[in-house]
Amino acid sequence: MARYILQRFFSALIALWVLITITFIMMHAVPGGPFATEKAVPEAILRNLEQKYGLDQPLPKQYIRYLGNVIRLDLGPSYKFKGQTVNDFIRREFPVSAEIGILSIILSLLVGIPAGVISAFRQNKWQDNAAMFVAIIGVSVPSFIVAPLLMYVLALKLHWLPAAMWGMTWKQAVMPVISLALLPLATFARLMRSSTLDVISQDYIKTARSKGLSELQVVWRHVMKNAIMPVVTYLGPLIAGILTGTFVIEQIFAIPGLGREYVWSVTNRDYTVLLGLTIFYGAFLLMMNLLVDIVYGFLDPRIQLTGHKE
């Protein structure tokens, strides 16, 4: 187990290094730079700025220096927001994105899993049809439509909730969390429904029923544990994706999260922010995938975590 984790850790480091290198090259290949403005800045001023941030150095030199800083966990200063560093951004903005993410994952699990199980047990009855109708809407209507719609109705027309902003009252969390939860909620419901249908046709469920267990016991002890596997698989990358922030929701609701930061860093050509957040996101994704594999091992004894084939 320890050996397996260590091996995965080293392959993750190599993956990260490749990620940094490719991003670095692509980023500098895009025309424009962090100090480009519509009003021409005198050459001398541009040179002063580039010297100050070390952008006057040849690219290979900048690359080596950057790698050195990354090893020391220093992701560098932002070129756009003077005096602020990428580490500041992550420290401030990751908790915000994570909070919305965790709330929406909890909401989607609490609603999506029971909905899926109920659908399976009431297959083709009205409960199933209703739940799957909602799920299809959840999967197919993107958040950039749901969010403004919620905003229009709940903030502008009914005045129940503030239109945007974050962290001043719990009310500000309602619309972003619902908009963000809709897609995973629907996905969970659909995954859970199909895997539950799979499981309940298995022999051991029939055995459990014939032993005289109540339906609730059957669901809880036998069905759930086995049907949940696809949900766990989906949960890993989902957590990584949702916790590190989503551009659309954060942009629409003016939430100071990492997702908005990431997308804007491209527009701003804020090289260090773009690279730093890519590394952060990459590391987080690799970590979550590893975690999912470990959780698999506990849930399903048939899966073995070993460093080599046996």
Partner: protein
């Protein structure tokens, strides 16, 4: 309340009488005040790039700095500078030396007095090439500033200090500052109300570090009408009235909350749902409805939207072709059918709103219009004369613009006008939409375009801010125009303080620019803000800077 208003008015008026000779300070409270003097606004950006005034270059940042700091002067909504930290000033006969007398009751928020030394140190800090101020060229009007700022910090480190010492900024005593300009510039006084010219608190900057001090609310030591009490990054800034401000009695607002929001749809929803009282953000698609509901405040704006012709790329290397394409644009239709918010068709380049040599005159009115809008007969004749009688011989043309629904609609309209009006097959006129950074690079660096959309807002209130862009060596000369007569006229204007000669030269230069049709002016901008009817006395000048110093909230 009315009594208080009256007293305030008397105070303001008597103050201006004593300080005659300088511009009048704007009068303020003229009605009942609301109980809660809090102004709620949003900034239109997700975060100010910096609140270190020397490092600022954007209007959103300027507007926040103008709350927190005060320069020698402030600017009213008519672009007239009036007394800030400077109580009065005199100008030498050659218009080169300004002597400012600073008021003795100007204080920093920590109680320190604001002195001439603060200004000297702060201005030289902005000029110092090691500071890396992107707007340092606003200081180039001062003698020796350009020479010091353009030194290479790596190669000429030793030369920086002597160069800074030689800059024309002199502290006569704690409350007298003498500034020598490189050449006369009538509009320079107005620049002292700009953030690049704001004083910063030396002890704070030195203690926390030149790059680091301006990032947290607790660190700021400032001298303006409001002081920052909170800065939740990328979310919200809060300001409170600064009771130590020398003119605190004339500041009515108690609090300003600034939401850091950059999504125009969200900005509008926040404003319409009452979460904010003041915004400049709205999606272009909403303009019709907002206008119908009478929600827009439309203000003059010193700016021109235009198309640049690359004079080094065929077919626009031929002046006749440029003229033909410019004359074939129907500006009236663009303004009335697409933009619909009071923009003015541009029949010259310099927009209205700039005073000419004689008092009360306007540069645009004096200069008049240079051509007729949508003059298809003349346009077609020009194109025939240019050797394109057979229209199929015209090379394929590409219009470059940055990705944005408004620019796209205008480009499509112009494509249609050129194709129909000049009888050019539509497939010969292509549209090229590029992401902002890529577009900037194509337009301003590699000059890889034939026709490019552009816009220019004046840096100061003088025709020069529009005309010197197209001088041969100017960094903003995207069309790569080179005309010695044009350069000579403007260089002569730059050297003299005689307004009549200056204006005369600039009129001549503008005529050359338009005759050569290096650019096709399309419309003069307007500045649109959304403010609730109870928000009063916000001073928005025609170059877009907004001052809330005398704003107040009426009873509602």
């Amino acid at each position: 309340m009315k009594k208080l208003a009256l007293i305030l008015l008397v105070v303001v008026m008597s103050a201006t009488l004593i300080l005659s000779g300088c511009a009048q300070k704007p009068a303020q409270v003229t009605g009942d005040l609301a109980k809660d003097q809090t102004l709620k606004m949003d900034l239109g950006v997700s975060e100010p790039e910096t609140l270190d005034p020397a490092m600022q270059q954007g209007v959103a940042e300027f507007n926040v700095a103008t709350m927190m700091y005060e320069g020698l002067t402030r600017m009213d909504d008519k672009n007239q500078p009036y007394q800030g930290v400077a109580e009065k000033w005199t100008v030498s006969a050659d218009l080169l030396t300004y002597t400012f007398n600073l008021r003795k009751n100007a204080k920093w928020t920590n109680g320190d007095p604001v002195t001439a030394k603060d200004f000297e140190w702060s201005w030289k800090r902005a000029i110092d090439p090691r500071t890396g101020s992107p707007y340092a060229y606003q200081m180039y009007y001062i003698k020796g500033a350009e020479a010091a700022n353009t030194l290479d910090p790596k190669k000429d480190e030793a030369k920086i200090k002597p160069a800074l010492d030689a800059v024309g900024i002199k502290v006569v005593d704690d409350y007298t500052l003498q500034v020598t300009l490189a050449a006369p510039a009538s509009y320079w006084l107005g620049l002292t109300s700009f953030p690049t010219y704001f004083p910063v608190h030396r002890a704070t900057v030195e203690k926390l570090g030149s790059d680091k001090w301006a990032t947290e609310a607790a660190n700021f030591v400032t001298n303006g009408p409001f002081k920052m009490t909170g800065w939740t990054h990328k979310s919200m800034i809060t300001m409170e009235k600064n009771t130590k401000y020398w003119d605190a009695k004339d500041v009515v607002l108690k609090k300003i909350t600034i939401a850091l929001v950059d999504d125009s749809k969200t900005e509008l929803t926040m404003w319409e749902s009452g979460q904010t009282d003041f915004t400049e953000g709205y999606p272009a698609a909403e303009i019709d409805r907002l206008k119908k509901e009478n929600k827009l405040t439309i203000l003059p704006y010193l700016g021109t939207y235009y198309y640049s012709f690359n004079v080094k790329k065929a077919p626009f290397d031929n002046a006749k072709v440029r003229q033909a394409f410019s004359l074939a644009i129907n500006r009236g239709d663009i303004v009335n059918k697409i933009l619909k918010a009071g923009q003015i068709p541009a029949l010259a380049f310099v927009p209205p709103g700039i005073p000419d040599a004689t008092a009360g005159s306007d540069f645009r009115k004096t200069g008049g219009d240079f051509y007729k809008d949508n003059d298809l007969a003349a346009a077609n004749k020009l194109l025939d004369d240019a050797g394109y009688k057979d229209r199929s011989k015209i090379p394929t043309i590409e219009i470059l613009y940055n990705t944005n629904p408004n620019h796209k609609t205008i480009a499509e309209a112009i494509q249609e006008m050129w194709s129909k009006g000049l009888n050019i097959p539509k497939e010969k006129i292509k549209l090229n939409s590029q992401e902002w950074g890529v577009y900037l690079s194509s337009r301003t660096k590699t000059h890889d375009f034939q026709v490019a959309r552009a816009g220019w807002i004046g840096d100061y209130v003088d025709p020069m801010t529009f005309l010197d862009m197209f001088m041969t060596d100017n960094g903003n000369n995207d069309p790569q125009y080179a005309n010695k007569t044009y350069d000579d006229l403007l260089n002569a204007a730059k050297k003299t303080g005689d307004q009549k000669v200056r204006m005369d030269n600039m009129h001549k230069a503008e005529k050359i620019l338009v005759d050569d049709m290096v650019i096709a002016p399309i419309y003069y901008y307007v500045h649109i803000v959304l403010q609730k009817p109870y928000v009063k006395s916000v001073a928005i000048n025609t170059i877009g800077n907004t001052d809330f110093v005398h704003a107040w909230i009426a009873k509602h």
